[in-house]
Symmetry: C2
Subunit: 143 residues, 2 copies
């Protein structure tokens, strides 16, 4: 499995050495695009490639990759941090969490635009946002 070009560029800009363990973590994140993984889950997957990998290295790697925005770090109500591969084009911080099947869906960014314009008129200078909608997804809703 290869690393994507965009990611490579950002790593180089950050002078980030690509060790075996970091590569394993990155590949997991790439394979699980769109999923939100805990450090523990990443460890489990990455150990398929690097069996002696330690949890501390996973935490350090995820943390640094989040700092250079290769990953996005977030927390849900369960109380632990989850990481996902960040898509360069979009922030992808708008989620729908299905209460029944616990799948996570992404919402188009544009849908927040009118709300944010409203707030900007009030003088807020918006930097980032995060929306979590708790719902039954179309599939679970039908049941």
């Amino acid at each position: 499995m290869m690393l994507e070009q965009g990611i490579k560029e950002r790593l180089e800009k950050a002078e980030y050495k690509l060790t075996q363990q970091r590569k394993a973590v990155l590949e997991v994140m790439q394979n699980k695009r769109g999923e939100h993984l805990t450090a523990e889950e990443v460890l489990y997957e990455a150990r398929q490639k690097v069996p002696h990998l330690g949890i501390a290295t996973v935490y350090r790697t995820l943390e640094r990759l989040a700092a250079i925005e290769v990953l996005y770090k977030t927390i849900f109500d369960e109380g632990k941090y989850r990481y996902e591969l960040s898509d360069q084009a979009e922030h992808q911080h708008l989620h729908i969490l299905c209460i029944a099947c616990s799948r996570i869906f992404e919402v188009e960014e544009g849908l927040l635009d009118s709300l944010e314009k409203h707030l900007e008129k009030d003088g807020f200078e918006i930097v980032n946002h995060q929306l979590k909608i708790y719902a039954y997804c179309p599939e679970c809703s039908r049941k």
Copy 2:
């Protein structure tokens, strides 16, 4: 300081005994309406009234009050739970967090309506939502 009528009713319906310590916690939450407090912060405040109050009791009380929706429990990116008095009328789950002064502002619920209607057309059955906007508030933005 008295407890509000609406809260009292909900407590009675839940057969919730109002001990000294629970009352102290509730009064703190009422005095800090609109603020999002950690268990530790509630403990500190409530000990003004009940000095021997233990942290376990605070956690238990906050948890039970959240269960009957007298409080609302949420988590921000810092990674610990915060509680606020829930306003009966509105969900009040839309927040602006100022990056500079870390004050928290509430956003009118209505501003999400059009976005949610859009999702409902796609088949989602929305139960709840939570929006966090990271921004400079009007005051900090001017500086």
